[in-house]
């Protein structure tokens, strides 16, 4: 609800940044894992599919923790948004959550399963990754469109509008866009994680060339699509501050080019990092475009916030736990940085 004091508004804003950071970290870190899963659907050799799974074995779980953090912050600080947006998104979220459950089980089943079941669990792994990426993207697109709320005296406005309202041409498009984007991340991840001579890495290299242009096209279409149907986006992008957005766009293009060049020179890790940079710039400018809305036309970050936000808990969590978590996550990725080979990991 509105009516926050000045200091509360500042803390709310800071929490919103933390929330956004958690979402971006989730997208960037788990996105590549999901993409590798999608890619695995097209890998013929069973050992190679197993190797892809092993390649993310040590890290995928920690990457997913960022999603839990984002959910926790949303519930605590923006409960009005949490309670209405999630019931609006029930169906896509159910599919995405089932995808996550399946992915976890498939990863864990594989090595114990007999070959006949392995084929099945590999398919489950691939399709569940695809489902998480698609429905996750679709949910984001649906949020951008806003949703109707109740207007009843002395109750908090909540979602009304049925189970299927989230479906629209735009949200279907963002679902597809998300699959393409994570697939690019996935193939870059596979390139970076496997030894240079591995056949699977060559397959990823070939894919990378195609998916790169696909992703480029997807990005352009998404921007034009949004500018056309969302007045708030067009106003910001083409308004008096257009030059800022032009610079952001330029930065994105530079990051994409750098990625391409690094990939062409077989500097795989560098390519993955540039991809991450491009994705992060894109996500952050997306948040900035929506600001001050959290759900355009429905909730601003201030109207969706819980009134009793306090400085104490912000300092407590940010000062103590977030840094530890980030350091730990980074340490883990560092531990698992070595390139592997399909045969080496599979015993």
């Amino acid at each position: 609800m509105d009516g926050l004091t000045q200091i509360q508004s500042i803390i709310t804003f800071a929490w919103w940044m933390v929330f956004s950071l958690s979402v971006v970290l989730y997208v960037v870190l788990d996105g590549a894992d999901l993409g590798a899963g999608v890619f695995s659907l097209f890998v013929r050799n069973a050992d190679e599919r197993g190797a892809i799974m092993s390649a993310m074995a040590g890290t995928w779980d920690a990457n997913e923790t960022w999603l839990i953090v984002a959910g926790g912050v949303l519930f605590a600080i923006f409960p009005f948004v949490y309670g209405s947006a999630f019931s609006y998104l029930m169906v896509p979220m159910a599919f995405a959550l089932w995808g996550m459950i399946t992915r976890a089980v498939a990863l864990e089943f594989r090595h114990l399963a007999e070959p006949r079941w392995q084929r099945f669990s590999d398919l489950a792994f691939g399709f569940s990754s695809l489902a998480v990426a698609f429905f996750g993207g679709m949910a984001l697109g649906a949020v951008m469109q806003g949703f109707p709320l109740t207007h009843e005296p002395s109750t908090v406005p909540t979602y009304v509008g049925g189970a299927l309202r989230f479906i629209s041409p735009f949200s279907i498009w963002t679902g597809i866009a998300s699959v393409v984007t994570v697939t690019l991340g996935g193939v870059l991840f596979v390139r970076a994680r496997f030894q240079q001579r591995e056949p699977i890495r060559w397959q990823a290299v070939k894919w990378c060339n195609v998916v790169f242009y696909l992703a480029l096209a997807v990005a352009i279409i998404t921007i034009v699509f949004s500018a056309t149907i969302f007045p708030w986006a067009a106003h910001k992008w083409l308004g008096p501050n257009f030059w800022i957005w032009a610079i952001v766009l330029l930065a994105m293009i530079v990051a994409a080019l750098k990625m391409r060049i690094a990939a062409n020179r077989d500097r795989d890790l560098e390519a993955l990092i540039w991809f991450t940079v491009a994705l992060a710039i894109m996500s952050i400018s997306f948040m900035a475009t929506i600001y001050p809305w959290m759900v355009p036309g429905t909730w601003t970050i201030y109207s969706g916030a819980s009134p009793p936000v306090t400085l104490f808990e912000f300092t407590f969590s940010m000062g103590a736990f977030f840094p530890v978590m980030i350091i730990y996550n980074a340490y883990q990725i560092w531990v698992f940085r070595e390139r592997i080979s399909a045969m080496g990991v599979h015993h």
Binding site: L89, L97, I101, G162
Partner: protein, 477 residues
């Protein structure tokens, strides 16, 4: 807000199913991490290899369980908003914050140390590894405490006012330390420990029945059964205390779980009798077939001979909870609590008679068989305990302040069935997977060959030949 009775029932079932399928993992995580810490500590102290082998063996089971807890837990965190949107919005300022404290102070904390615990063997020094295990135990215990504080507040809400459709916290202290916390939190914590002790007991008893690694599992069995001698009565004591809280602060819930329909007998005297078993009659205003013992109810709840206990007929009809499930679920839980006490005393008796030694423990066939069965019972007790608690709180979601009907998202019946059917499939997948892996690891038994690790070793992890170990590495960070 749900208008039809069917859709309200379905939205409750939707939530009940996913929580019931989540709550079977966390207690083992929380309890077993403490036991792992103790075993590892004994190893560090005494350098006795058996403690090391036991730690490594039960740690494998621990990690499988942990993975399942995460897989089902992610849904839980999102489900409040999805299924109980208006409740989440209204209670968010308190409830959401408490859950976020859990996320931050327990999950994130745990995520950090569990990686060290799983991957740290051979890379960390002995003491450092023990420190990691200790932190995992502390973090998962914190998690139990936070979530129970949140749930206790739903049972006995304090420190808030309900205004403009949501709860404003006016007194954080009163809200956090609400009356139900005193017994519900320790009752759950001790349930977690008791469940884990029974788990270790059952696994060890099974190995002993197969005559495998007798000296090692004799040690595990003896220690866990002897600990149960203290823990099992403690749990009964805490349960009795919790019943007292319920009697004092949630009259309608107590009446439901005791099947207590009338405050007074027809002749005007206080109805003091305790129904052992019974079945509600067709009109639902009394027990049709019942075996009742006079004075026991008053003794149990008020600790006096003729104390008055509010019956359902003193509760307005629209505020009366269902009776059948709370009534029987409560009896099953309490019965299981008693069975554990008997098992523990049986074990104590055998130990005192010198029959629990390495050379003769496997002769106690019946005791060992009973111990195996006791591995399943705590799961049933945890389920029935929660069902008692949650169903006897109905029709309230926040007792006395917000009804469940006000708290649910506006979903159609089709949507609710979609969720339920989907989750029945996926949660059973997780459940099946977990038990399949448990069985595999237990059957395979402990690894007695690999050398023990004595602090940092030069090489990285050697390649793991056994699939379960590979799984273990993958399961959490």
């Amino acid at each position: 807000m749900q208008n039809s009775a069917l859709s309200l029932l379905l939205s409750r079932l939707d939530f009940a199913w996913i929580t019931s399928m989540h709550i079977i993992y966390p207690p083992l995580t929380a309890g077993l991490s403490i036991l792992l810490f103790i075993a590892e500590w004994r190893w560090v102290r005494t350098d006795d290899e058996q403690w090391y082998r036991l730690t490594r063996f039960f740690e494998k089971l621990f990690i499988i369980n942990f993975g399942a807890g995460v897989a089902t837990g992610i849904t839980m965190e999102m489900a409040f908003g999805i299924l109980y949107g208006p409740f989440s919005q209204a209670a968010g300022p308190f409830f959401g914050q408490v859950l976020a404290y859990e996320t931050i102070s327990a999950f994130m904390y745990e995520a950090g140390f569990i990686g060290l615990m799983v991957f740290g063997w051979g890379k960390l020094g002995k003491k450092m590894h023990l420190f990691a295990t200790a932190n995992v135990a502390v973090a998962s215990t914190l998690s139990v405490w936070w979530i129970l504080v949140a749930n206790s507040w739903m049972q006995t809400p304090r420190g808030v006012v309900f205004k403009n459709g949501f709860f404003h916290v006016v007194n954080w202290g009163a809200a956090l330390i609400n009356p139900d916390v005193t017994f519900a939190v320790p009752h759950m914590e001790v349930a977690a420990i008791e469940l884990s002790l029974c788990f270790v007991t059952a696994v060890s008893a099974w190995q002993l029945l197969k005559k495998r690694h007798v000296p090692m599992f004799q040690r595990a069995l003896k220690w866990s059964v002897l600990t149960l001698v203290v823990i099992a009565p403690l749990q009964v004591y805490l349960g009795d205390g919790l019943g007292g809280t319920v009697a004092h602060d949630q009259a309608s819930a107590l009446a439901a779980l005791e099947g207590h329909y009338h405050t007074y007998n027809p002749n005007g005297s206080v109805d003091t009798s305790w129904e052992v078993v019974g079945w509600p009659n067709a009109k639902g205003d009394d027990m049709a077939l019942a075996i009742a013992i006079p004075h026991v109810l008053s003794l149990l709840e008020t600790h006096t001979w003729n104390g008055k206990v509010t019956g359902l007929d003193d509760i307005p009809p629209q505020d009366r909870p269902p009776v059948l499930i709370p009534f029987y679920a409560f009896r099953i839980m309490a019965g299981i609590g008693t069975v554990f006490m008997l098992l523990a005393f049986w074990g104590l008796f055998l130990a005192v008679r010198g029959k629990m030694a390495v050379q003769n423990i496997i002769d106690n066939k019946w005791f060992l068989r009973a111990a195996v069965v006791c591995g399943v019972l705590p799961y049933i007790a945890v389920w029935t305990g929660w069902w008692t608690r949650e169903i006897s709180r109905q029709p309230w979601v926040v007792y006395g302040m917000m009804t469940t009907a006000q708290g649910t998202s506006r979903m159609s019946v089709a949507q609710e069935i979609f969720w339920l059917v989907g989750y029945i499939g996926f949660e059973i997948l997780v459940w099946g997977g977990t038990w399949y892996f448990f069985a595999k690891v237990v059957r395979h038994g402990p690894d007695m060959e690999s050398p023990t690790v004595d602090g940092p070793m030069p090489a990285l992890d050697p390649p793991e030949p056994h699939a379960v170990l590979a799984f273990v590495k993958r399961t959490k960070t």
